[in-house]
């Protein structure tokens, strides 16, 4: 007998898996910036990379509920791996990205066992510790990483042997955008799968998830590894497109920034990281043009206000408004959809 529950879940998932008008519009706008904002490609490139990085944090924070203050570990590892490969003659960008992803995934797999235990606080400390250890390593192994001077002398070959990187960052931006888009599509597919559903069950109540037969630890290890691979790719992209890696990629403020990016955009849905990246970079650009040295103050203030005002309420409201806006074109009530609300972590 085919149970009706399975049927309901399947239809709900496939409904959620459908691409909405808003999403299509989002990516069309992103693609359009390639042609209409040519003088902004350098910053857009950074936005795409930070967006991908935040997306990877969202996979573990928003979907699996693992609080991490050390996500820069994987980002930095990816950046160094891609940078060192390129410096040593392996200049094909895509191959570099693949290796960066694998390196991130391996580190993620190993360290994932460390975050399975303990409270939120223990997880925070362990992830932070991992990032700090990597930072120290990169600092000490200066024969490999260039230490405090940074990794210099990276030169990239053309992408697919066709597209050379140019100084305006157009190729770089197109490259980052395409990679981000492809990885986004994969992540989107994953979170609307039964697997993604089980992750959310774990996030909301690990005990209950285990009771209904979800292998909690295995799922968490898998998603942590996946997120680490994503972060590795983001780091690799940064190294390849800026052709420079410094210790900065492993610094604490990277981890804090990416969390901020994700929180600005909204935790627990995939566009949160991307939208947050746009808002964050634009804010940073405006603020640092206004007060070059002290823009961090305003970022801090925004963070404090965001938390005090109830960040979930704000992002939920904004998301609902967007949904309703695009729902109107389809002539359908959006409220009928089961909302994928960002729950307490």
């Amino acid at each position: 007998m085919q149970s009706t529950t399975a049927e309901t879940v399947r239809t709900a998932l496939s409904r959620r898996g459908r691409w909405g008008l808003g999403e299509i519009a989002f990516w069309l706008v992103a693609a359009a910036t390639l042609f209409f904002l040519p003088e902004r490609h350098l910053i857009l490139n950074e936005i795409a990379i930070i967006g991908l990085f935040a997306l990877s944090l969202d996979l573990i924070l928003g979907y699996a509920g693992i609080v991490s203050l050390g996500h820069a570990a994987f980002f930095g590892l990816g950046a160094y791996v891609a940078g060192i490969l390129a410096r040593n003659g392996m200049t094909d960008p895509l191959a570099g990205l693949v290796v960066a992803a694998i390196a991130g995934a391996i580190l993620g797999f190993i360290t994932s066992f460390l975050v399975l235990r303990g409270s939120d606080l223990t997880k925070l400390m362990v992830t932070l510790g991992v990032a700090l250890v990597l930072g120290e390593l990169a600092n000490q192994m200066s024969w490999l990483t260039g230490g405090a001077d940074g990794l210099q002398g990276i030169s990239m070959g053309p992408i697919l042997g066709l597209f050379e990187f140019d100084i305006f960052g157009t190729t770089a931006y197109a490259y980052s955008l395409v990679v981000t888009f492809l990885l986004f599509v994969i992540a989107r597919r994953i979170v609307v799968s039964p697997y993604g559903l089980s992750l959310r069950a774990i996030r909301d109540n690990p005990l209950r998830a285990r009771a209904v037969g979800i292998p909690v630890n295995r799922r968490l290890v898998a998603v942590y590894t996946l997120a680490a691979a994503y972060a590795g790719v983001a780091g690799g992209l940064l190294a390849q497109t800026t052709q420079f890696v410094s210790l900065d990629v492993l610094a604490f403020h990277r981890s804090a920034d990416v969390m901020l990016v994700l929180v600005i955009g909204g935790v627990g849905y995939l566009y949160g990281g991307l939208i947050g990246a746009v808002v964050f970079k634009v804010l940073q650009d405006v603020l640092s043009a206004w007060t070059p040295q002290y823009w961090q103050f305003w970022i801090g203030l925004i963070l404090v206000l965001l938390v005090l005002a109830g960040r979930e309420r704000l992002t939920d409201k904004a998301r609902f408004a967007v949904k309703r806006f695009f729902g109107r074109f389809r002539g359908k009530r959006p409220g009928a959809l089961p909302s994928t609300s960002a729950r307490e972590i």
């Binding site: 510790g129 929180v263 404090v304």
Partner: protein, 284 residues
Amino acid sequence: MLTILFDGIAYGMLLFVLACGLAVTLGLMNFVNLAHGAFAMAGGYVTAVLMNRYGVPFLLTLPLAFAVPAVIGLVLERTLYKQLYARSHLDQVLFSIGLVFMAVAAVDYTMGSQQQMIQIPTWLQGRVEILGIQVGLYRSFIIAVCGVLVVVLQYILTQTRFGSRLRAAVDDPRVARGLGINVSVIFAATFAVGSGLAGLGGALGAEILGLDPTFPLKFMIYFLIVVTVGGTTSITGPFLASLILGIADVAGKYYVPSLGAFVIYTLMIVVLVLRPQGLFARAR
């Protein structure tokens, strides 16, 4: 060798005074406050400004280095922190990181980004030899002050009425409230004292740890290590943890400088993985 041990103990004592406020807010009240270092920095700057601009003697600045951060802590607790006690850890982390960013930029703006120098009084400078050990006078001073503080804190927490009220309020705020304990006043007072102690630690430690606007970020990890490794159910756990951390750090920097902070971070991860509740705590 013994000199290193001595320096390590002084460093550890200092860390304890800096972190014990955090041990209460984070350990007992379960509030992840990454901004604790900002209070320590406030204390350090109070001392630096008073001494360098107004010529106030070092010892007289210490009470103020306690009082100013305590008042700041009290105001912030009453206005902002208390709204976040019931929120998720993520919210608390974000909120306190925001505070740190603001504090760092604000201090940078008002005081400049250079290192602040604190001239300790001449009678505290230099070293003497006791039983064949080179002992720094200033470090002995720190050990003495911090030792007294530890005893007083332990006494207050375990022997006085306030201490038992605090423990009750932390264990179960609702029941404590039902018994007529004014929980929010106790929390506010504790938070203020914790911030004040951090400020005092910042002032005492300015000579050893250095003082610049990035202080809260640089030492955040140390405070957190003390609290998480020490375990969060008592005051002795963090105390022992800070002593171990202090000695390990000083010895590590002396014997294997190339490894840097590596040893400490690795140790922390190992301890936390093996004993997520902390070294000296019973599992709850």
